[in-house]
């Protein structure tokens, strides 16, 4: 399939430069401070030239380049800008598949001649530059891999069209570091002295499979410009989202959970959520220092009950260590589906029905006679303790 790959080198740095023009030409890096990853997430070409690399610990980066300008990450801004970029691409070409952040693929007319394909690529570049202000590069070729290679080797603001049937010849001089394979495969290729994809293309499939197993087959195809990865254009989804400003900036997990609970309740009551279930949720925090935090979570099965969604939200929020207090929270339901029936075990259904009845009776008794319920159950508290009575505790049955 004929695809255009659009990529923005150092996407996050490019975005930061659109909102702070004085960053242009400077050695800039985006680093996640502790308690986060404490490493460099992205860096400008000027910083790369000084030896800064993605994944480098912040302390090493500061030692290496003392006057490095280190920015805190703003994932919400990056992801919103990426959505804008995808929308701009969709306005130019209707079928678009998002790739890694800053990279996207669009289907181009396979029957069009090279000039028309070049025009289509130029339209994509203009659309992105006009809407987001960043300079991208575009490669047009058969399959995702060659299109991506062509985009990466093109200068910002330029497009390259690889003629049909010339894919293998086009990528042959490129280094093997372009190949999307594991570190081990890269290391082995380097040990065998294979520097370019043309070197690897000289080997037959048997030799590659003997060395790399299943990956050998994929390697054999990729170096010949064949990428069987399917093109999956995104479907336009209207997100169901709600925001809440915290009464006072907080890092308290319990306060965040209460806010999350309110948002879940509010979203579930929206008319668009009637008879629908949620597959994914995206939680975003705006932090007091101007930074942001974002996570997307996929449920094991679509949920429509408040308790189930809050249970997942609690698992996300409770262990959280943020770099600053939260000022505002945004919750988004993604991938909503129609309601589906759930096949449950008869045995467990009966068990949970009886348990619910028992709890209701106990609460009734408590309400009627007041005081404590004397029906208790045993729960594990410190199962690792060497003192037996520390391992379990008796709690009210209905708690």
């Amino acid at each position: 399939m004929r695809l255009a790959c659009l990529t923005v080198p150092n996407f996050r740095i490019a975005l930061e430069r659109t909102r702070a023009r004085e960053l242009a030409g400077r050695a800039v890096a985006i680093g996640e401070p502790p308690p986060g990853a404490n490493e460099i997430l992205d860096c400008s070409p000027e910083a790369s030239a000084l030896g800064i690399r993605n994944g480098m610990p912040l302390r090493d980066a500061r030692t290496l380049v003392p006057d490095l300008l280190l920015l805190p990450p703003d994932p919400v801004f990056y992801s919103q800008s990426f959505d804008v970029l995808l929308d701009a691409l969709e306005d130019a070409e209707p079928l678009v598949e998002p790739g890694d952040e800053g990279t996207a693929f669009a289907a181009v007319d396979a029957l069009a001649d090279a000039d028309s394909q070049f025009d289509a690529a130029s339209r994509l570049l203009q659309a992105v530059a006009g809407r987001t202000g960043v300079d991208a590069s575009v490669g047009v070729a058969e399959g995702k891999f060659v299109a991506w290679c062509a985009a990466v080797v093109s200068a910002p603001g330029e497009a390259t069209v690889v003629p049909a049937g010339q894919e293998a010849a086009y990528i042959a001089p490129l280094r093997t570091s372009f190949l999307p394979v594991s570190y081990d495969v890269h290391r082995k290729l380097a040990l065998y002295g294979m520097r370019s994809m043309g070197d690897v293309a000289l080997l037959d499939v048997g030799a590659l499979q003997a060395q790399f197993g299943q990956k050998g087959r994929r390697l054999h195809d990729l170096v010949r410009g064949i990428d069987p990865a399917p093109f999956l254009p995104r479907a336009r989804i209207e997100p169901i989202a709600g925001s809440l400003t915290m009464p006072a900036p907080t890092v308290n997990g319990a306060a965040l959970l209460i806010a999350g609970r309110q948002l879940v309740g509010r979203l579930l009551q929206q008319p668009s959520m009637r008879y629908r279930q949620v597959r994914q949720l995206r939680l975003r925090f705006a932090l007091l220092d101007g930074g942001s935090w974002e996570r997307t979570l996929t449920f094991r099965e679509p949920l429509s009950d408040e308790a189930g969604i809050i249970f997942v939200l609690r698992k996300l929020i409770e262990p959280l260590q943020l770099t600053g207090p939260v000022e505002a929270m945004t919750l988004e339901f993604l991938g909503c589906t129609g309601e589906t029936g759930k096949q449950r075990s008869l045995l467990f259904a009966e068990q949970s029905r009886r348990r619910a009845q028992l709890i209701a009776s106990l609460r009734q008794l408590k309400a009627q006679f007041g005081g404590e319920s004397h029906v208790t159950r045993m729960v594990e508290v410190e199962p690792w303790s060497r003192i037996p009575e520390r391992r379990y505790a008796l709690i009210d049955y209905d708690h």
Binding site: R386, P388, Y392
Partner: protein, 52 residues
């Protein structure tokens, strides 16, 4: 009537608390093959039956 001491072990724990735990446990076999676990509190000296 104890017929045999199957096992014994000592626990010293929670020494950072005001009431440290220091116990000598015994797993005993009684007449009729019943097995129980008892311990002696090494601070107070009293004997206790560990029911679980």
């Amino acid at each position: 009537m104890v017929t045999c001491v199957q096992d014994r072990w000592r626990i010293d724990d929670e020494w950072w608390r005001e009431m440290a735990v220091s116990r000598m446990y015994y797993q005993l076999q009684l007449d009729g093959a019943r097995v129980i676990t008892v311990y002696r509190d090494l601070d107070g000296g009293e004997w206790c039956l560990q029911r679980y």
